[in-house]
């Protein structure tokens, strides 16, 4: 008999109830149970960062958490980053404009990591962005365009905040 639990998880603002096996990783719960395949699974041992999601507002590797541990928590995935009208977020747009992705495999993790960082540090230096991105591997871009996108998004987010202030 597999060990199962009933869990309630809020993902991108939507409540989900499910009966899951204890050993089911959060990444696999998102992808296979909820069909939210935007969260990518690369190394499955916490090194590549592709599966990064936000758990109660903090980035975490969803391959290093069990779905049962997300019970009662609020998760944000790449599917939850766009604006309510479906338009890309400022950060997503910056990735597009700066060629911040090539194959796109690492992009969901990059976007979640940078969303958290820019929320907590609206005016980052290039060195700070490079440090925070050490937790996300990209094998295409050489990171230059990703850092450029991060800096571009930071400037645009500050400008939009000033406008609305």
């Amino acid at each position: 008999m597999p060990d199962t639990r009933k869990i309630t998880v809020t993902v991108n603002g939507q409540r989900h109830e499910a009966e899951v096996e204890s050993r089911l990783l959060l990444a696999d719960f998102l992808r296979h149970t909820l069909d939210l395949t935007g969260t990518h699974v690369g190394c499955e041992h916490g090194v590549c960062g592709a599966c990064t999601v936000m758990v109660d507002g903090h980035s975490a590797r969803s391959c290093l958490m069990f779905a049962v541990q997300a019970n009662g928590k609020s998760i944000t995935t790449i599917e939850g980053l766009a604006q309510a009208d479906g338009k890309l977020s400022i950060l997503q747009e910056a990735f597009q404009n700066n060629h911040g992705l090539q194959c796109g495999f690492c992009t969901p993790g990059m976007l979640i990591t940078l969303s958290e960082h820019l929320r907590d540090n609206p005016d980052p230096t290039e060195a700070e962005l490079r440090e925070v991105l050490t937790g996300n591997l990209c094998r295409c871009t050489g990171y230059q365009a990703i850092v450029a996108a991060g800096l571009d998004a930071a400037a645009k987010l500050r400008a939009s905040k000033a406008e609305h202030a």
């Binding site: 060990d3 499955e44 290093l64 541990q69 937790g135």
Partner: protein, 292 residues
């Protein structure tokens, strides 16, 4: 790469957690999961019972006062962003910034890292440097251990089966103390090939009045330079003194592996300890002026 099946338990008190560990064969506590879950994904670790500590409120919390005290489940991020700790114990924050990455420090815990006891890990080195006292609890009762007695060897702690690390504490150094932490890894956030941590205070003449030095990554557990620390008291911290410290650091017995030779680790230890010591001296002089 999926973990083998296990039975999941989510206690809310320390009593429930240690009872579960006592009751079940092959049970493992789950802290932040940043080392245990990768090992389970690879099936290097196949516990039959997983006792998740994330819901145990009494294991959380960080106090900064006459002693600095951490519940074992204090997350690395909470230490990293503690304003009180930045004042009382800045070396801890410098060292923690080298622990993994933003995403892993958001989950990873102080107690989990101590129990995992990787020879290159920063948290065990920091607790060794501060002569931390650890509290372990089991269904039979609790006991206190010095960090030096806790770290038995390569990824091996003195915890008995069924025992849980609950609290870690140490006395902060004087406000005028200097600190320095240096490490070398191939990429930021990788395990260090070698690291060095230094705490010191200077007397009114500028001579060393107290010194603690720790070297990580060389020996199976972080190593204090106790003999050198004892000789250092009263010494003038000049270039010869720094050379002697670097020599003591490079004399720590070092491990070889497929990537890094023992000699290279010792070479790094000598360079890093000299840098950490210079940094500590600069901080101590600056802080002595501020508090004069």
């Amino acid at each position: 790469m999926k973990p083998a099946p296990f039975a999941y338990h989510d206690p809310t008190t320390i009593g429930e957690a240690v009872a579960l560990l006592a009751q079940h064969e092959n049970a493992r506590p789950l802290a932040g999961g940043q080392s245990l879950v990768p090992m389970m994904n690879f099936r290097y670790a196949t516990p039959d019972h997983l006792v998740d500590l994330n819901g145990v409120e009494a294991l959380r919390g960080l106090e900064v006062g006459a002693r600095i005290s951490f519940g074992a489940m204090t997350r690395q991020r909470d230490v990293e962003f503690s304003g009180d700790l930045a004042q009382a114990c800045p070396i801890l924050i410098d060292a923690l910034r080298h622990v993994g990455h933003r995403q892993t420090r958001n989950r990873g815990t102080i107690g989990g890292s101590l129990c995992h006891l990787d020879p290159a890990a920063e948290t065990p080195a920091m607790m060794m440097l501060h002569d931390a006292v650890l509290t372990a609890q089991s269904a039979e009762g609790s006991r206190e251990l010095a960090m030096g007695d806790f770290a038995l060897g390569f990824m091996t702690s003195a915890l008995e089966p069924g025992e849980l690390l609950t609290r870690i504490s140490f006395e902060p150094w004087a406000k005028t103390h200097g600190w320095g932490f240096e490490e070398y890894a191939r990429r930021h956030g990788d395990f260090a090939i070698a690291s060095a941590g230094v705490l010191l205070t200077l007397d009114a003449r500028g001579a060393v009045s107290r010194l603690a030095m720790v070297i990580g990554g060389l020996a199976p557990a972080p190593a204090r330079l106790s003999d050198f620390e004892a000789q250092a008291v009263g010494a003038a911290p000049d270039d010869d003194f720094i050379k002697a410290a670097a020599h003591a650091a490079s004399s720590v017995e070092a491990m070889d592996d497929a990537h890094v030779s023992a000699a290279y680790r010792q070479h790094l230890a000598s360079i890093l300890s000299a840098r950490a010591l210079r940094r500590a001296l600069a901080h101590a002089r600056e802080r002595s002026l501020q508090h004069a």
